[in-house]
């Protein structure tokens, strides 16, 4: 019995090590993307400034994107009433943008704060609640709060997510 317990603990430790490596890798990704502070990151050129965003990578073949991720994002957008904008990117068309963001699989979502800085990465299907929590965490700064409040007062956001025109992601240099 003690042997089973010891092995279970060892397995848990190894799994935790793997999870920690995964977490560190995600933080590194965010840090890498965040180094372009003060510039507009590739894929976010058409977003409204001062409003948090969810950058959503999908593909035409991704079934779970259609059946679960997109509806979750639509619900999120409707509930936050202009406090968030959804940017949908087809990773098969904007491959350069997908590579720039380090997208490995779809769906992948990035939570972007009101200053245009990436704050969270989600690989795989992510619930509306989780995205909402991640977005609310970005409202911590007073500036972001004010922007979100202004958006909430100014009425609902566009019903359709922002879709990038095909091929527009080829130019990856960040714009000032």
């Amino acid at each position: 019995m003690n042997d089973v317990l010891a092995r279970t603990l060892l397995a848990a430790a190894l799994i935790a090590l793997g999870a920690a490596a995964y977490w560190a890798w995600n933080r590194w990704q965010l840090r890498r993307l965040g180094q372009a502070r003060g510039t507009v990151l590739a894929g976010l050129e058409n977003t409204r400034p001062g409003v948090a965003a969810v950058l959503y990578f999908t593909t035409p073949d991704c079934l779970v994107c259609k059946t679960a991720q997109k509806p979750a994002l639509q619900r999120l957008e409707a509930e936050m009433r202009g406090g968030v904008q959804i940017v949908e990117i087809d990773a098969t068309v904007d491959t350069a943008v997908a590579d720039y963001w380090g997208v490995l699989s779809v769906p992948t979502t990035f939570v972007i704060d009101a200053h245009g800085q990436p704050r969270s990465i989600n690989h795989g299907l992510t619930s509306k609640e989780k995205l909402q929590r991640q977005l609310e965490a970005t409202f911590g700064s007073p500036a972001a709060n004010a922007n979100a409040a202004v958006e909430l007062e100014s009425g609902p956001a566009p019903a359709e997510p922002i879709k990038r025109p095909a091929g527009s992601g080829e130019k990856l240099e960040s714009k000032s």
Partner: protein, 163 residues
């Protein structure tokens, strides 16, 4: 070099990896070497049939009941078969080591298989596929496929809306 892609159901691959990881992990926890041996037999069978070893669970149970949805994308099936074969060899050595009472070596190799399957399942990187594409670049006979366009060798293709 051959660039012709085929439809590959990545949901079946993920089910396969899930079972490889789960059974190997349980084998380690309960010190039951026969569990990795079962995984080895299933993987060997799958490699010979050129399909994911645990595919029958996906096609016979999970898919018909809608518990796992198909995820068909344009990809090369050969690197995945090679990766499974590669895993079979590693697990084969592991089971042999366990049978010969070389526990540290045996379980270390089992953990290597778990780690590589996890890398594929959770991050979409197939190490065996990367080795396949690397061998193809070296023009090794029998390794004729190149990675799908725009995909880093070994990474899961982001999906293509091909014919």
């Amino acid at each position: 070099m051959d660039n012709k892609l085929q439809k590959v159901d990545h949901a079946a691959l993920r089910v396969n990896q899930t079972f490889i990881i789960s059974l190997s992990l349980l084998g380690f926890i309960f010190s039951a070497w026969w569990l990795p041996a079962i995984v080895l037999a299933v993987m060997a069978y799958g490699t010979l049939r050129k399909q994911p070893g645990f595919k029958v669970i996906y096609t016979g149970l999970l898919k018909p009941r809608g518990w796992v949805k198909p995820d068909v994308i344009n990809d090369n099936p050969e690197p995945h078969v090679f990766a499974q074969g590669f895993g079979t060899v590693v697990l084969g050595i592991a089971v042999l080591a366990l049978a010969l009472d070389a526990g540290v070596l045996g379980w270390s190799l089992v953990w290597l298989v778990i780690a590589l399957a996890s890398l594929n399942l959770f991050l979409g990187f197939c190490a065996g596929c990367a080795v396949y594409y690397w061998l193809a670049r070296l023009n090794v006979p029998g390794f004729g496929k190149t990675a799908p366009a725009g995909t880093f060798p070994g990474m899961r293709p982001k999906g293509t809306s091909g014919p």
